[in-house]
Symmetry: C2
Subunit: 323 residues, 2 copies
């Protein structure tokens, strides 16, 4: 049981073991799941790709669970971590939440660290409730027989009050938090890129603030990295290099590789010269690899396509890191 | 069925009908629920206030549902809206989510508009998933037999990409969105109060951006207000007055009255001279009114205390508005 070992120490150790500073993102949308899996679970799609409203919620849940399990099974030997985005489970309400937390458990049993991509934000008592729900309060875990992620993503707009409850649970339970500093979307700069009076951008100032929060008492592990990391999409080489310097003790969770278009060279700036400091995520290029025409030779064997997509992703990031 | 009538038109009409520009916040924590209700539902608390881990999840769900129903029953005649914070339901996992959406349905059946305080943030496909889950995608609502809120709160840090999917559903379905602009917590100014190069604070710049988003094609209703409103805590009179001017077509959802310490005078600045433009929230002062020593004369009749707390809150805000 590694529950109370420092999160960054656990993640760095898992990255060394697999030689793969990556995580696979599980963002399942029903109309992109393999047709045979949907049919096996009794999920009918209409012509426009939406699910038939007569479908039983249990059938949808079964499809999401079966797909998630297949991804876990095929990537667990190659990568240290799985990032599961809860947004793709919330449209399925209570059933969706049940499947999300069941997949957290299955991934951990398969030896993966799990990052819950929940991007939560709130203050005071409400923030404590989110911390309890997503990073774990013992009594609730026992009562509900549930497993929670090893780390989650959090939105820092509300300031320290919106981060401290997560940091406190992280410190106590060996969990991690990745704070949004620079996101990968086209309009990210609309707010994150605002120029401050002091001459830097909001994302640079966020980085300074995150560094201060991350280096609080007992948050830094023996590996030198903090339980508090940052989500950093390498949208601009100059900014990325600045952010890497401003947060020397933060692990970067790096979105945007592959489907979102960030190149290997841009991603390389998120690593330190010693090859540590970043974990790069790819979602669609791996979990929907079977939709890639290059993989037609595998026919309907979508599981093999996912494993192949995962191995190609790992190879690409290894090359980035050593470049 | 009012489903596709513009959200701001619906809310203003409900405020006129009740003569009460307020909403009650339902933020239930187990250890503050009435002892007799907990006992009736079979929920045991330990000495330090945490729930006994042997308690059945169904018992906890029953207690949350029974308390929420009692609040709805006692406030529905006095106020136009209920704000339910999903953070207080997520620690109860699938059961908690089931209760949250069941309370949305019950409140709407009782004639209340419901604001889902979910403070979600994400981009692209993920954001669309949150919009579908929390503001409603027809096929999922039918399949899961679920009712969704009339409006939700959203965190704007990610820029327009993180807002547009919510705005699109709002426009199409008569729903509303309240974007966080100025929050009520002690450290809110740490980021929201940052001074920009142009000489204003981040929250003022957010207000300008929110105004631009809110006045997009077909988002403004016949009442002159947009489906996109703003969360504005009156933490500083000068800033509050500026925000009111910067977002003339946005309804303000105003937290912080009562337990969080904002005074009537500060709250008054969120209204326009004509008495419209704001809906003020109170949570703990209403739903935990039975814990107030002033109400000891009601003995164990916690329901009457809640109704009394609600009526006092409405009276206080009526005085604020006409001052």
């Amino acid at each position: 049981v590694t529950l109370n070992i420092h999160f960054a120490d656990r993640l760095l150790s898992a990255i060394r073991r697999t030689n793969a500073p990556v995580c696979v993102g599980l963002d399942p949308v029903l109309d992109r799941l393999p047709k045979d899996l949907l049919a096996d679970c009794g999920v009918q799609l209409s012509a426009n790709g939406t699910v038939d409203p007569q479908t039983k919620p249990a059938a949808v849940a079964e499809a999401l669970l079966a797909f998630g399990n297949a991804v876990i099974e095929r990537v667990a030997d190659h990568v240290p971590a799985l990032k599961i985005n809860i947004a793709f489970f919330e449209p399925h309400y209570a059933e969706g939440i049940r499947v999300y937390f069941e997949l957290v458990r299955r991934a951990q049993r398969a030896g993966l660290l799990v990052i819950g991509d929940v991007k939560r934000s709130d203050i005071g008592h409400s923030c404590e409730q989110y911390a309890a729900a997503h990073l774990g309060q013992e009594v609730n875990l026992v009562m509900h027989d549930v497993a929670v992620p090893d780390a989650i993503t959090v939105n820092p707009l509300l300031g320290l009050d919106g981060v401290q409850p997560f940091a406190d649970v992280a410190r106590e339970k060996g969990k991690g938090v990745f704070l949004l500093v620079q996101t990968s979307n086209p309009s990210a700069s609309e707010i994150q890129g605002l120029k401050l009076a002091e001459g830097i951008t909001l994302s640079e100032r966020l980085a300074q603030i995150v560094h201060r929060w991350a280096t609080q008492d007992r948050l830094v592990g023996s590996c030198g990295y903090s339980s508090i990391g940052a989500v950093v999409a390498p949208t601009d080489p100059v900014i990325t290099a600045r952010l890497r310097t401003l947060m020397p003790q933060c692990l970067f969770l790096v979105p945007g590789f592959g489907a979102q278009g960030r190149s290997a060279e841009e991603v390389a700036l998120c690593f330190k010269p010693d090859g540590t400091g970043a974990i790069v995520n790819a979602s669609r290029n791996v979990i929907f690899a079977f939709a890639d025409p290059r993989r037609q030779r595998h026919g309907n064997d979508w599981r093999t396509c996912i494993e192949e997509g995962c191995k190609e992703f790992v190879t690409a990031i290894r090359a980035v890191r050593s470049s």
